[in-house]
Amino acid sequence: MKSDDLHVDINIGSRFENIDLVDAVAEAMLRHAGLEEESVERLSLAIREAVANGVQHGNCEDPTKRVTVSFVLSKEEVRVQIKDEGEGFDLDSLPDPLDPQNLFKPRGRGILLMNSFMDEVEYKFESGGGTTVVLRKTIETPKVEDTEEGEA
């Protein structure tokens, strides 16, 4: 991590209402990076989905179990690591939400949105328990600071 990178860690109990707190921080950081509003919307939704998975499926909504979210924002990329204390899951067991026969199944869309909105989604399953999801997105068009017209 470079010295001018922005790094924020959040540690929440596994309650649904705490997801909104992470969401608010994610939106604020992405706007701070100068991303377009559409990108802010997409990336923060991907982050929300990963955190919600940790709270709901990883930690089974047990408020004594924690979800740790680490944001690292540089000029080049957004990198977010989400870690829960759950027992992990089998990615292949999730239904493909784009298969018409799975339309009414509730699961699988969060991961679809993460994969759609991020450049990389990586899962790490710890042997002693705990799942870490790492989301990464290259910042392609950082906002250029406005300058006075005619300024030298």
């Binding site: 559409e38 919307e41 339309l103 009414f104 509730p106 869309r109 759609s116």
Partner: protein, 113 residues
């Protein structure tokens, strides 16, 4: 998220305001649809103009509502989808299931029966 409901021409128009997300807005949506069905409404229009965000739990609730209403021989349509909601409903292909309108009069007239 808050929900208001009104009736126009035999159609129940649900107007959610805020986020339809896990643990809050998704439950409000479920309860509002159940309440409308219990009251005998078979034509339900959801106006999304004041919805700021919908996550995968909200989407799951929306397709569940579609199924419950269809199973009750009813109809559900969507109105005024903001671009971010249209975006995620398109990616997940949920948009293909619903009739989506930009004009309330047109949506009301499209309900049959």
């Amino acid at each position: 998220m808050t929900m208001t409901a009104r009736n126009r021409g035999g159609v129940t128009i649900l107007e959610p305001k805020g986020k339809i997300t896990i643990g809050a807005g998704d439950i409000v949506l479920r309860d509002a649809v159940d309440e409308a069905l219990a009251a005998g409404s078979s034509k339900i229009l959801i106006d999304f103009s004041k919805v700021t965000r919908m996550d995968s739990s909200g989407m799951a609730e929306l397709v569940a509502a579609f199924k419950r209403i269809s199973d009750a021989s009813g109809q559900i349509k969507l109105l005024h989808l903001p671009s971010n909601i249209r975006d995620v409903l398109g990616i997940t292909q949920i948009a293909r299931v619903f009739d989506i309108y930009e004009d309330e009069d047109e949506a009301i007239q499209a309900f049959s029966g």
